[in-house]
Symmetry: C2
Subunit: 449 residues, 2 copies
């Protein structure tokens, strides 16, 4: 199998490059047709490798692609989930090669979506192809459910899963959308933080005012906004929103130990990312801060004059985007209420605010002892010679909670990315050896079930 | 004279509209040729009304237009200063008619630059025309010195004045770039706040990071920036920069009285500007805050993701534009040092900052008892039937300090704008009755000297 994959590697990369050329950015309205094109591409790719009943299912926004192969009587059923949509690519000027002109350098494929998630999703399509080629059939029943809205928090896949429990029924949901600990050290993630994303707007006047005539005597929308934004954390890096930490699991000795078992090279991380220092909630390690503690991050801010030079105005409007990562029993809907109350309390005189929810997702915890997860670990070990670790991942895959709840099946987070692959950032890339070894691992896993 | 001006009003407005069509935005590099066109337009306008030795004098950026008429032997010399450059016009969507398509509504002329300063500058050109038409000569010697860099703080006019003290020598410098107190109540401004404009940049990493993987454990450039920006004011609206208030004149009873003499209608101002409240330094009135107290305003802020929806990043860079209005003996160069030290002190761990100076201007105080100013007041009184007040203006005309220092002549701030005319904001306009009465007032003033 390994030899066959190696033989096809160049062709597979060419195909993946075609996939990556499609700027299927789900967050941006003017990429609507590109997202549709991404769905059509996945449909054809599934049909080509022998999947059946392949359909592009419309939603109110971006479509879901479904396909299955159900001829392995008496064998388990695996549902593969992935997403063909990608993050926005800006700031464009920081990309060494354009985000939608996939380029191979040093056995890495550079493009927006290379690792998140087109490259990782493509592993499963190519695994099906290799198994079909070698045996003329698949060792288990396989379903694909591939969406185009993961990067905007899956607004339509949740209801789709709710309404199609039988169609999607499976013994395991397999998702490749996470990362190794580092090169050569695979990982099966066993918890995902939840998410809540918000946009806060501030208005102080009908229009910007001349700072010479009014400056010093009228409210300034940016002053109001930065005051509210700065109030979210105290000097110890703790989030000051009243009630925010309710439902956050206590950091027990055993959890501390579990988190500490995942290696972390501070010096290397700082050097790779260009950080002069780490910075987070006092009293917790970096792995704790990013894995099992909740966060509140300002993702964007804008207001007033932003051109060259200066415009001496008192700005009348300003906006910020904020997102939280949530853990344990933190409920995004409740956290929204708490943040709303916090803003109300910290709102300076003369400012009116608006708060809009952009996405929300509940935290998820998975059992590393589940046999479907342990068999995946075995497959990694056979291919990579190293048993995976079971980290608690800081990211969010909002739909995982719906899968576990509706399908009552274990979710196996078989990631093949690397944390250094710049996901959601310029120069996103995917290590091509993990691409080919990923195909091998998935083939091995499916045969072992 | 009044009748003659009325006869020419429509033609004058048509000419002014041509001037206002030129988007001579000095702050924006891609309007360089428009600013040049503005200079050429002024040159032709001066020649047409009979000014001599008219020249467009190049500088390293935008040119200065000079012209004179020096045949009034034994009579005083008046130097008219004004500027043909304008502020940027954004946000464009808030203009009822496009900023560079001048439109008359309700006897007001709407366009960027209508009141600041093309319309007010044009008053002087047309006054020369009317005097020449009536008498075949001017009652005094007149020089024009019109620049294209006022809105970027006159970087080249200062050195030009220094180098051309004799060419520009005058008994009074007359400037129409300020406002009435309100309609029907003229004003001759007797002090101008100084200005210092800065851009602060923050960097925390080489690129934006995935907030799921790194959020909570690494510095966030926007968190760092909003923390520093929010630190500039305390809860009482006082600027917290160490040493900032050194050199600010004490608010004596007589100064308090002088400032209070200028009427201010709080309810009307709030209603006109869409304010829910006034807001400023505690213990001072609005007129004090905006007239005789220094300020520090954030004029713009930008960082991270600003598109639709959300991008769950830890932003690595953020920037803000800041400007101060200065009074008394506050020195812009010294204030720069104090702000730099303040930022250094309030800089969170993991952030590196840059600070660039964009403009600077010293505060100016003028003597309302100067005969050249009192004669201007007489002229206003004859035309408007009301004697002007002598307010302390909150705005800055950076070059006034250079004129007073180099030419040792009184500066007469004969404004014909209104504070409600949206200068530096969308829907800037100029009341056309003040345009024609302005021409009459200037004619009367020059004849009285």
């Amino acid at each position: 199998m390994k030899r066959n994959i190696a033989l096809h590697k160049d062709d597979f990369i060419k195909e993946l490059q075609e996939f990556l050329k499609i700027p299927s950015i789900s967050a941006l309205a003017d990429h609507q047709s590109d997202v549709q094109a991404g769905a059509e591409w996945v449909k054809e790719a599934l049909e080509e490798v022998g999947m059946e009943h392949v359909e592009v299912i419309p939603t109110d926004e971006h479509p879901i692609v479904y396909g299955d192969w159900l001829h392995a009587k008496g064998k388990p059923t695996v549902l593969v989930y992935g997403h063909y949509d990608v993050q926005p690519a800006d700031p464009l000027e920081l990309w060494e090669t354009p985000p939608f002109e996939p380029t191979v350098r040093d056995d890495k494929l550079f493009a927006r979506g290379a690792t998140d998630d087109k490259g990782q999703l493509f592993i499963h399509i190519k695994a099906v192809q290799m198994l079909m080629a070698e045996y003329g059939e698949l060792p288990v029943n396989v379903k694909f459910c591939i969406e185009g809205e993961e990067e905007i928090a899956s607004p339509h896949l949740g209801p789709f899963i709710e309404a199609n429990g039988e169609k999607l029924a499976a013994d395991a949901v397999v998702i490749s959308d996470t990362s190794f600990i580092e090169k050569g050290q695979p990982a099966i993630c066993t918890s995902l933080r939840g998410a809540l994303a918000l946009e806060v707007g501030v208005k102080t006047a009908d229009a910007d005012l001349h700072s010479g005539l009014y400056g010093g005597g009228v409210p300034n929308a940016i002053h109001a906004l930065v005051h509210m934004l700065d109030s979210f954390h105290d000097e110890q890096g703790r989030i000051t929103v009243d009630g925010f930490y309710e439902g956050v699991p206590e950091l027990t000795e055993s959890l501390k130990h579990e988190v500490a078992a995942i290696p972390f090279d501070e010096a290397k991380t700082k050097q790779e990312l260009g950080l002069t220092a780490l910075h987070g909630e006092e009293g917790f390690t970096f792995k704790e801060q990013t894995g099992v503690r909740p966060t509140l991050e300002i993702n964007g801010v804008t207001g007033g004059f932003q051109g060259e030079g200066i415009k001496t105005i008192v700005p009348s409007e300003a906006r910020a985007k904020i997102s939280c990562r949530l853990v344990g029993d933190q409920d995004p809907g409740h956290i929204y209420q708490l943040i709303d109350a916090h803003l109300e309390e910290h709102k300076p005189v003369g400012a009116t605010t608006t708060l809009n929810q952009l996405i929300q997702a509940k935290p998820v915890s998975l059992d590393s002892e589940d046999p479907m997860i342990q068999r995946a670990a075995d497959a990694y070990e056979r291919v990579y010679g190293v048993r995976p670790l079971f980290p608690k991942e800081g990211g969010s895959i909002p739909i995982v909670e719906d899968f576990t709840r509706v399908l009552q099946a274990p979710v196996v987070l078989m990631g093949f990315g690397l944390p250094s692959e710049n996901l959601h950032a310029p120069n996103e890339h995917f290590h091509l050896d993990n691409f080919t070894q990923g195909i091998e691992t998935v083939c091995d896993y499916l045969r072992s079930l």
